[in-house]
Amino acid sequence: MTPQLAIFFVLAALAVIGALNLIIQRHPIHSALSLIVVMIALAGLYLLMGSEFVAAVQIIVYGGAIMVLFVFVIMLLNAGVEERTNVSKLAGVAGIPLAVALLGFLAAAIARSNESAQAGLQSGALANTKEISTMLFKDFVYPFELTSFLILVAILGAIVLAQREKS
């Protein structure tokens, strides 16, 4: 059990527990906090894989901006605890074993595929950011400019949607 494998299991367990907590919790703010835990665990996994730029961007953008937006909206709408629903018990009783069986099948299929089991080490830490930026600004410059346009459209859309009605 190398240290990397140990860290992987810790972070993976954290991510899965966070995702389970998202389902189990009844108040949306607790689900939001669990999702933040999942994102931080995933950022740790990206760091473990050597992609530190993506890890930092994940925490800054996803954890520090998108989830803040979610938390603001939950506070603004004063979302309360969810009510009990009348979903049939059969769905839970028959569904969970089926889901586990499907997942096991999927996992076995992935584990048997001939992806190389040994992933090599990163060549250099700065090389990661430099590589990404070179690729982003040379090969993918057109999608990059399109995403800036997309963000502008999203900002305008959000402003228009959240306006008060002029009565």
Binding site: Q4, F8, A12, A15, V16, A19, L22, I23, P28, S31, A32, L35, V38, M39, L42, L45, Y46, M49, S51, V54, V57, V61, Y62, A65, I66, L69, F70, V73, I74, L77, A79, E82, E83, T85, A99, L106, A107, I110, E115, S116, A117, Q118, A119, G120, E131, I132, M135, L136, F140, P143, T147, L150, I151, V153, A154, G157, A158, V160, L161, A162
Partner: protein, 100 residues
């Protein structure tokens, strides 16, 4: 080193949990959060493949996914705020008719 298949299995598990949350939860904001969970699981798969093949394409695509998720969250939450104001409820089971 951690084998790539471990990351892919974790990604599949997280995606599955996202689908379960999407189907079973009734608060529209929680459903939206489960979409973000699914996107995160896919990001993990992208980065795992990018590391396995020693190319940065996967990581660049992850940046694009994050940006699109941000734009979608902004507009989606705006729509949710409007719907909640009109129907006075965040329960998706009450938003199943076009008529108020």
């Amino acid at each position: 080193m951690v084998p790539t298949s471990y990351y892919l299995i974790l990604s599949a598990v997280l995606f599955g949990l996202g689908v379960v949350a999407f189907v079973f939860k009734r608060n529209v904001i929680t459903i939206f959060m489960s979409i973000e969970l699914m996107l995160n699981a896919v990001n993990l798969a992208f980065v795992a493949f990018s590391q396995a093949r020693h190319q940065s394409d996967g990581q660049v695509f992850v940046l694009f996914v994050i940006v699109v998720a941000a734009a979608e969250a902004a507009v989606g939450l705006g729509i949710i705020i409007l719907t909640a104001r009109n129907r006075q409820s965040l329960n998706v089971e009450r938003v199943d008719l076009l008529k108020l």
